[in-house]
């Protein structure tokens, strides 16, 4: 089972090292990790996905709380959330195949951000399920290069209109 956690931390030198070091030495399995600025100056926000059981997720949270630079940590696993990641996918495409790829781009509301005689670079934003699905469909062509950000996540406030895909952010194949 995968758990999504958000951690807020003081933007100090070495803070990422502290967090990563803790996860490594406590033998926690991390699927992905994202750090960025938050709405508060001097505070960074990290989204990370832990692979394990409920106990492991709780331990990660408790151990992380002990880091002096970590100001707050929250598990998003039992809350409806919006989780999004961005992927850049370079596909080998002949001129004749372009239309086919563009069809997929349209279906997945992706974007073509670079094109050459032999390839196209696609940008897609969405939850992991959606990105996995696009990659799956692109197997028909040759995937030359891929980079993914890993999810960033935020809790929903209006929980009435929860989409199933937002709760199970990691649905579908793991990567």
């Amino acid at each position: 089972m995968k758990y999504v956690l958000s951690a807020w931390m003081r933007d100090k030198p070495g803070v990422l090292h502290r967090v990563c070091g803790l996860l490594r030495r406590r033998n926690f399995n991390i699927d992905s990790l994202q750090v960025s600025h938050s709405e508060e100056p001097g505070i960074s926000r990290m989204t990370f996905v832990v692979d394990g059981d409920e106990r492991v997720a709780e331990q990660v949270q408790n151990q992380m709380t002990k880091l002096v630079d970590v100001t707050h940590i929250e598990s998003l696993s039992h809350t409806p959330l919006i989780a999004r990641e961005l992927a850049l996918l370079r596909v080998s495409v002949t001129v004749q195949q372009r239309a086919q790829v563009l069809q997929l781009v349209e279906i997945f509301t992706a974007q073509v951000v670079d094109v050459s005689r032999t390839s196209m670079l696609l940008q897609v934003v969405g939850n992991q399920t959606k990105i996995n699905a696009l990659i799956e469909l692109l197997q028909e062509f040759e995937l030359l290069e891929m980079v993914r950000t890993g999810p960033v996540a935020i809790a929903r406030k209006g929980s009435d209109n929860v989409l199933e895909e937002d709760i199970a952010m990691n649905g579908g194949s793991p990567n």
Partner: protein, 599 residues
Amino acid sequence: MKASTVSQDQRILDRNTPRSLTGSEMIWDACVLEGVTTLFGHPGGAILPAYDALAYYEQHRLLHHVLVRHEQCAAHMADGYARTTGQVGVCVATSGPGATNLVTGLATAQMDSVPIVAITGQVPTHLLGTDAFQESDIVGVTQPVVKHNYLITDVADLPLALKEAFHIAREGRPGVVLVDVCKDVQIAVGEFRYDMEISLPGYVPYPQHEESNLHKAAELINRAESPLIMAGHGIHLAGVADVLRHMVEKAEIPVVTTLLGTGNLPETHPLSLGMGGMHGEAFANEAVQSCDVLIALGMRFDDRITGRLDHFAKQASIIHFELDVAEVGKNVQPDVTVLGDLAVTLPALNELILPNTHPEWIGALAGRKEDSARVDILTYEVDELIPPFVIRQIWESTSQRKSPEEVIVTTDVGQHQMWESQYYLHERAGMLLTSGGLGTMGYGLPAAIGAQMAMPHHRVWAIVGDGGFQMTLQELATVQQEGLPVKIAIINNGFLGMVRQWQQFFYDQRYVGTPILSPDYVKLAAAYEIPALCVKGPEQVQAAVQAANDADGPFLIEFQVKEEINVYPMIAPGAAVDDMFRRPKAQIVQANGGVTPAF
């Protein structure tokens, strides 16, 4: 004292007036303001400006620096000092090898929740990251073994970092904070003040307990038929050993301790079952396995105390009183958790605990107490020199001269450490200094030095093995240089004894790398001008221990004990508590009349 000096001292003790100081002076001013009196360290290039500034503080008796012979021992001495006084211990080292040498000592302290601030010199800021001479990334190196650390590259950041360092080391669950100060920062001048507020929103040293959980805990305990307390280091750290005693006497609850919880309840108290775990007495572990409510107070369910987790106290409801949120559910999932400072939660629990008796439970335990090392030793017929007898003699001789508040025992790690815990009966918490978590050989002598520096009039015994002692014996020079009356008992069995015992039990007696040669310890001590004796027979023990206790200065005794004897009982690593190696009756130890046994 000259008038100008007085005003200088006042200047240092004044925390409110901003003043212009060098980085070096800031370090020492902060130490003085934090109540530190003794530093343990070793100078070198990158920390020289700080040492130069230290001259003033030494001259005016504000700080005393103890020169160590290896930086690992600086950390162990600061550790011994901190455990003895409850204050933050301070150790100092230079960059590179000086700093990396500290690591084992810092890890030892961190594992056992000992407050230490380590000050290290670092290469100048313009050389950082260039693999400069004696450069090592000590902040990176120590990160996994400290509570927090700092690299200071700007003198403006130094005062707050120092104040935070002491705060973090001391408050909450104590631990180690390292402050790495670049050489140019030590020289630079900046504004120093010490009245600033600390703002660490991410650091919650004392979590609040939930009242409802406290009531649940009290209800379970009040209803229990066979309750048992497992008392850890947290009891001593919170200073609530007296509350514990009051509570267990009121409700007749027996107490097992962890190694670091030794003495939380006097070990001669009828309700004390001594230490539990791998080498705890059989009855102590049987009590854990048969109680109906296990009340864990300030302990972390270390594998050495639980053995195989799925067999540990499986019949009992478990209540965990704990300060550190990450310890809850880490190893054992409690039924009730009371988070928070034991200084608050234990007195609150005590209020809710009703007077009670458990005659059946106590009676059953009393029956089992006959199978005990402490009983066996009383019927031991003396013809060979064995370690339990030696340790028993040290306890008797020393406790005849000094009250329990005045005797500190330190140990290394291994068989002698476990025999100490079995045969030396501690009456007070915090008087046994031993590396429980990390299990650091070589801890005994430097920790004894730190303790003796803190308590010059206490009797400090370092009970060490021939293996561990040879790791840090260079500190005999420190003993002599500081004129410390530390007493050293070397239990020499010619082996790395505990490793040998494991090889005997689990590796078909293939003694690989465990036979160990010792020097002539009497001659070695003589080289340091420390009086010493070598004891080979049981009849010499009493006189030798007395000679040590009578000596005004340091004293060393080498006990050449029987080589291949084992620590019993033993629960094999990873085994269930119920599967223990008991003490073979044939090896029952013998005789020493006139002493009231604990059991």
